[in-house]
């Protein structure tokens, strides 16, 4: 089963940018694990939300033919905590896109307040420089993944 960390895309400009939202609810068990009696979204999961938003943007740019893997988090700066009842907004912009991978500039906000600035890189791993070999089938963008994109309500914005 694929772990879903974003609820919906609200903007998707192929090869340029994408914005997704996630509603944070007190019903999520992991919110209670970091600080008892003080539920917040862990920073690592804020990075995960940006990775999912940006990873789909990068995958779509090559028609989901590449195996797109998060390869580097160049920088992640956090400005405020995120609490239950708030809506995270992940905005990802492609800085560079090449045969080998892509770099992304991401901003995370809640009600237009800055939550985090994140730079990350994705590798098209079959084109990687390390010379490693991976399975032939695309284990990142599977058929199940196409269903997931429908859940994300991307119909009409990209070719599925």
């Amino acid at each position: 089963m694929r772990w879903i960390w974003i609820d919906k895309f609200v903007e998707f400009i192929p090869k340029v940018s994408a914005t997704a939202i996630k509603n944070v609810t007190l019903a999520e068990e992991h919110l209670h694990d970091l600080y008892p009696a003080f539920p917040i979204v862990p920073h690592s999961l804020i990075v995960e939300g940006m990775a999912q938003t940006a990873g789909i943007l990068v995958g779509e740019a090559r028609n989901f033919q590449e195996k797109v893997i998060l390869a580097k988090i160049g920088r992640a700066t956090f400005h405020r905590l995120v609490r239950p009842g708030e809506t995270l907004r992940f905005a990802a912009k492609i800085e560079h896109l090449s045969e080998q991978g892509a770099s992304i500039n991401g901003t995370v906000t809640v009600d237009e307040e800055s939550v985090a600035d994140i730079e990350m890189m994705f590798s098209h791993i079959d084109q990687n420089m390390a010379g490693l070999e991976f399975p032939e089938h695309n284990f990142v963008f599977t058929e199940q993944f196409t269903e997931l994109l429908r859940t994300y309500r991307l119909e009409g914005k990209i070719a599925l």
């Binding site: 390869a71 160049g74 090449s98 991978g101």
Partner: protein, 130 residues
């Protein structure tokens, strides 16, 4: 652009990309063994260099794949992942400052990525911008 200007820009890119201090970035510093670059960092460095050396957005500065950091060699330069004499000469031509002792002994083409030093990046950019 002067050599100093190129060096300063390269230094800034490496500080940002590899999270090292400015004084660690010396002309002789090896990107891998001294500055800790991993394979994805080479792509990151290329992206950042393209950005900082673009002065006119309508004419972006581009570094073609395999040009600055060769990942593969043309037929004749490598056989069974071992550098031929021609391959070794090509590496020496591209990386004139590198110590090729280990490479000459093993001929292992996979070792070439370990040889890139800061000065090699600057030399490449000087030629490219020249």
């Amino acid at each position: 652009m002067t050599k100093d200007e190129i060096y300063k820009k390269v230094q800034g890119v490496l500080v940002e990309c590899l999270g090292v201090d400015e004084d660690e970035v010396t002309p002789q510093a090896s990107l891998r063994s001294d500055l800790g670059a991993e394979s994805i960092d080479f792509l990151d460095i290329v992206f950042r260099l393209e950005k900082v050396f673009t002065t006119d957005p309508s004419k972006p500065f581009q570094i073609p794949r395999n040009e600055l950091f060769p990942e593969s060699f043309e037929p004749g330069l490598v056989e069974d992942n071992k550098l031929t004499d021609a391959g070794l000469a090509e590496v020496h031509r591209r990386l004139p400052h590198a110590d090729l002792t280990e490479l000459k002994a093993t001929r292992d083409a996979g070792l070439v990525q370990n040889l890139f030093a800061v000065q090699d990046v600057c030399d490449y950019l000087e030629r490219k911008l020249g």
